[in-house]
Amino acid sequence: MERTAIAIKEQDNVATAIKDIPAGQEALVGVGEQTLTVPVSQDIAYGHKFALRAIAKGEAVFKYNCIIGRATCDIEPGQHAHVHNMESLRGRGDLD
């Protein structure tokens, strides 16, 4: 089966869609040589991310095995992960 998403490192807790993935469909997530199956609960547009595992509010979000921000609310596996539920830790003049 053709992969529909990529997780760059196995430690990542989000994957990136490389096809439009409609809600209810199972994403086929390439992680190195492996392919994981993750049902997505929302439409995931090409290039957008979804959670591979549950990410609790305040928890770090990992991509490239690096922290790309933190969850601003609980994110369930298969949910879209983006600006509505994630924030940056850097360039935050509003927090100082």
Partner: protein, 386 residues
């Protein structure tokens, strides 16, 4: 790499052979453009700086103009001033003359207005263009390449395909004794630890960290979350959520090449290999900075489709997004989207980018050049207009 380039008196190599009509202050742009419009082979550089600024910015403008005038893609240079600018005109004229190429300066107030200056400038530029047209291109190699690196209108494909494919090219070119210049310091934020670890030594790594801290402090001083400015609304629509995510994808365009040195904006590298130059990510400022640093070709990766080019340095557009490739053919030079679903390896995609650089360096026109989308230019300043 083998290409036909124009070797200049100072030994540098141009991939293009233009007469540069350089406006030295915002107030002289009309005349510079008017002259370039009337002379085949001439191009104008215009900008919004050079007057009513604090000393550090005026020095920045002067030094950037020196660098632009010395860029090897220009065979000769005509400088246009108003006559009362803050830019240090004699310094620019001297710097360009020292590179061994013909240079003249005209002042609008001295010559009696725009019409007279344009007429005089056209005659001078015609002579310069005739001289330039007699310069024959010669065989050149990788060691003559000064490659500028830029990613713009990025999306998540940038960090997964186009940028790492360009990284393969950078690794190869620096091994072949080329220079590669990376800017966009804002887009190191969140990834600077990786880039600093790629520096040739700890002191150089620290310079990278210092540049990032300076850039981030400047953004934070405004007192808001910089998201919306970086990443941009377009980045966000493309799936990039935070500056950290954007940066981790952005730095992939140098692969694992070693950072040899760190420079201020627009300064010419004195070493071979990969160097970092201070610059924001916005196109006019970074393209100008790369040109001032001496880049003779620029590789520009894009996800959503950035059209910008520069007047006298060819800018090659590389996308990793299949939709953008199909949708924006008149702006994209090549696509490496095949990397996304594993149809092509990064090495194969890198080879195609390498070959594109080689042919463009020999004179093949880029989409930006052919379509005339080459007006992304301005000088990066950090102080107030006063």
């Amino acid at each position: 790499m083998n290409f036909l380039g124009y070797r200049r008196p100072d030994g540098k190599v141009g991939t293009r052979n233009y007469v540069g009509i350089i406006s030295t202050v915002v107030c002289a742009n009309e005349v510079a453009k008017g002259i370039a419009d009337k002379v085949s082979g001439a191009v104008a550089f215009t900008h919004q700086q050079g007057c009513c600024q604090t000393a550090p910015d005026l020095t920045r403008v002067t030094e950037t103009l020196c660098g632009l005038g010395c860029n090897p893609n220009l065979a000769a240079v005509l400088l246009i001033g108003l006559g009362c600018e803050g830019t240090e005109m004699p310094a620019v004229q001297e710097a360009v003359a020292a590179s061994g190429k013909p240079v003249r300066t005209l002042f609008i107030q001295e010559l009696g207005g725009a019409a007279k200056t344009t007429a005089e400038g056209v005659l001078i530029a015609q002579e310069m263009a005739i001289q330039a047209s007699q310069i024959k291109p010669q065989k050149c190699g990788s060691a003559d390449i000064v490659l500028g690196l830029k990613c713009g209108s990025s999306d998540t494909t940038s960090g997964l395909s186009a940028n790492p494919a360009l990284g393969v090219v950078v690794e190869r070119l620096v091994a072949e004794d080329a220079v590669a210049i990376m800017g966009e310091v804002t887009e190191f934020i969140g990834a600077e630890h990786i880039l600093a670890a790629q520096a040739k030594d700890e002191a150089t790594g620290q310079k990278i960290l210092d540049l990032v801290e300076r850039m981030e402090s400047r953004a934070k001083a405004v007192g808001v979350d910089m998201r919306g400015g970086q990443p941009t609304p377009g980045n966000i629509a493309g799936g990039l959520t935070t500056i950290e995510e954007k940066s981790l994808g952005a730095i992939a365009k140098v692969g694992s090449a070693v950072v040899q040195e760190v420079y201020e904006y627009g300064r010419t590298p004195r070493v071979k290999g990969l160097v970092v130059m201070d610059s924001p990510g916005r196109e006019p400022e970074i393209l100008t900075g790369l040109a001032a640093a001496g880049c003779n070709v620029i590789a520009f990766t894009t996800g959503r489709g950035a059209p910008q080019g520069f007047p006298f340095v060819p800018v090659i557009k590389i996308t990793g997004n299949e939709k953008t490739w199909n949708h924006l053919r008149d702006h994209m030079d090549l696509s490496v989207h095949q990397v996304m679903d594993g149809r092509e390896s990064l090495g194969q995609a890198g080879t195609r980018i390498y070959e594109a650089i080689e042919t463009v360096a020999s004179g093949t026109g880029t989409k930006a050049e052919i379509s005339g989308y080459v007006q992304a230019m301005d000088i990066y300043v950090t102080g107030p207009v006063i």
